[in-house]
């Protein structure tokens, strides 16, 4: 059964010329059989290469038929036709034979050289023919016919005939080949239609720059320069202010308290992988915490979820202990791998909390559904809890169940606040300027929108 499912479409392909070749040139409307008068055709049909792409695509635009939405109001759809030389039939046959050979090779237990040869010869023939396509199209209108390539509903004035760039696909549209198009306005009775003027030759080709993405490019450049500028400024020694973050201030106190109580500090990096921004920010915070912990000679526990995160965290903690001059206090078991299953990890961390009763639990990084379970268990164990995550859905749980919470971006800022390195401070400053830019632009846009100045608001439209 499955075998037939697979083979049936291939057979279909073999016997049909092409999936696109469904309709031939329209026949003359038979006015006797119906009351509908043929609609007026579309006007001003234009065809051009689709902008800002890699080619293989033509865009058609036209003015509505006077009988669409007005006049007789009889047009229901527009059918788009392309002139296709008869050589396309051969191409499609070649392609379907090729795909049959491919599937034979796949089904067969061993690939015979005969099969391979057959395929190579088919491929060379296909390539040859494809090479001739531009010339063949120049022979328009000899030796070819109109094929429908698509349709759009009434009131539409645009169609993009985008094809595949894969030469072995039946939807392949070659670049630098002069195509001819026409658009039919079709009524409910598909035999009653109006044929437009033919447009062509039109070629598709790729562009080197996507002009629709200028706003993004500007944003990239402005942001890049801002960051670079402030980093350089900070490196030169300019003092950059960072407002205090309550949660982070608390970490210092908490470490002191833990030392007094002789209890450990639990640091949870979350479920993020090493490529996530929240995790990377958390590494920096961990580094600072570890340094302070080493200075106070308190115990630190860092259970991890991801093996890569574990080894990175190990090195971070190690270098912090070295910085604090407590290399001898460092132990490879401070950071350890638990498991890579969300709830099993949570269960293990819960166990640690209830057994070790840490003075402080620090949750920094990416957290998901487990956030509340961790925070509730921590509360049960009576620990002070400080959390920070950029996972918006989890912030409320932390706010409710923890003592201090860093909200979203504050987590990223925390690493700069703790680290005070020029690079981090500089880029934080750049972020603030970008925020100021957002506010200014939003204000300007708001005024523009309220007065209907679309020129300004249109600047923010990112095409494709």
């Amino acid at each position: 059964m499955r075998y037939w499912c697979r083979i049936a479409p291939l057979l279909l392909l073999l016997f049909s010329v092409s999936p696109f070749a469904q309709t031939d040139a329209p026949e003359l409307p038979d006015t006797a059989s119906t009351d509908l008068a043929p609609p007026a055709p579309v006007s001003m049909l234009r065809a051009h290469d689709t902008d800002d792409d890699h080619g293989h695509s033509i865009t058609l635009e036209w003015e509505l038929s006077p009988d669409d939405g007005a006049g007789q109001n009889s047009v229901v759809t527009y059918e788009v036709f392309r002139w296709v030389p008869s050589v396309m039939d051969i191409l499609d046959t070649l392609r379907s034979r090729l795909s049959i050979v491919n599937s034979e090779i796949r089904e067969a237990d061993g690939v015979t050289s005969e099969m391979k040869e057959r395929r190579v010869s088919l491929q060379t023939r296909l390539k040859e023919l494809l090479g001739q396509l531009p010339e063949i199209h120049e022979q328009y209108p000899n030796d070819g016919e109109w094929h429908q390539v698509g349709n759009v509903g009434s009131r539409n004035t645009r169609y993009v005939n985008s094809g595949s760039k894969d030469t072995e696909s039946s939807g392949f549209i070659p670049d630098f080949t002069g195509f001819y198009y026409r658009v039919d306005a079709v009524t409910v009775d598909s035999s009653i239609r109006a044929v437009s003027k033919i447009v062509g030759p039109v070629q598709s080709y790729g562009q080197w720059f996507n002009t629709g993405r200028y706003p993004v490019l500007f944003a990239v450049l402005i942001f890049g320069f801002l960051t670079l500028g402030f980093v350089i400024k900070a490196k030169k020694g300019a003092k950059l202010y960072v407002r205090p973050l309550t949660g982070i201030e608390e970490v210092n106190d908490a470490i002191g308290r833990a030392t007094e109580m002789g209890k450990p500090i639990l640091y949870v990096l979350g479920l993020g992988t090493a490529d996530m921004i929240a995790t990377i920010a958390s590494f920096t915070i961990l580094g600072r915490v570890a340094k302070r912990v080493a200075e106070h000679r308190t115990r630190l526990i860092v259970p991890t979820y991801d093996p890569i995160v574990m080894s990175v965290a190990q090195e971070v903690v190690k270098s912090s202990y070295l910085d604090a001059g407590q290399a001898d206090a460092y132990d490879d078991d401070i950071v350890f791998f638990v498991t890579q299953a969300q709830f099993a990890y949570v269960a293990a961390v819960n166990g640690i909390m209830l057994r070790e009763l840490p003075a402080t639990n620090v949750y920094m990084g990416k957290f998901y559904a487990e956030s509340l379970i961790l925070a509730e268990t921590g509360a049960l164990a009576g620990s002070i809890q400080i959390a920070g995550t950029d996972e918006i859905a989890q912030i409320p749980f932390f706010i409710v169940a923890c003592d201090y919470t860093l909200i979203g971006e504050e987590l990223y800022a925390a690493s700069a606040y703790l680290g005070r390195e020029p690079i981090l401070l500089g880029s934080l400053k750049a972020q603030d300027y970008a925020k100021a830019a957002v506010i200014t632009l939003a204000l300007a846009g708001l005024v523009a929108a309220n007065f209907g100045w679309t020129t300004f608001t249109d600047l923010f439209i990112v095409a494709n």
Binding site: R106, P396, E410, L428, A434, V438, L441, A449, V462
Partner: protein, 274 residues
Amino acid sequence: MKRTTYIMMAVVFGLFVLSWIYKGISLQSNNDHYILDGFLVTFSAFLTLAVLSFLYTDNPFYKFAEHLFVGVSAAFWMCLGFWTTIVQNLIPRLSEGVSGFFKVPYLPGPYNFFFFIPVILGIMLLMRLSPKGGWISRWPLAWIIGTTAGLNFIRYLRSDFIKQISSTFVPLLGGGQHEWQGIGHFFSNFDLSASGQFVALVANWVIFLGVFCGLVYFFFSKEHTGTFGRASRVGIWILMITFGASFGYTVMGRISLLVGRITFLFRDWLGLVS
């Protein structure tokens, strides 16, 4: 282990067998695999209850379920990754013979040799399992970070930055179906209905001022004092309302999951409801 533990285990095992027999008999009439299906339903129910038992306290049944979960899910991901990505996307681009073996369509292409890059990087990643070659796994890590950074850089600028700015261009004097028609019209039609002009107007102002103050709160390099401080305070209020709303919604989701599990117990296992 304590004696009570053994007794508990024996009881649970007995209940399990009873349920299996009961499910088997009740499935017999319309099912060829009634013994197997009876077992599967019972086993699912056992696992569900084992996990729920964690609420009472940590216990061996929960540990069993948890450990099974860890093993099975790791293998699940590996198998799916293998079949869907390695077999369907990688092998067809590298080797015709192997593609034939797996019965997937071969996808020849002139630049396919590039697909050895991820294989090499992937193997480097696996080097982490060996005690000495761990450092080499930083290369694939660097690749992964480069890719996500490159993708994120553009996407976030575009969708979260540019698009969100332009979404804040809301008409402050009402737009769309609430076209501003002069102050007289506004007051003569003033009401507090949810679809009325006043409410829509307030909503737009709240959005605008909320985004404004929320962003002010996230300013890190300026002291939050004076007017700036007041705006930042409004910002944190808006954020708190946001979190409250988010909390409310989440509660709903969590309850749905519980409903799903209890429905399973009552319907599929015990047959109490249809």
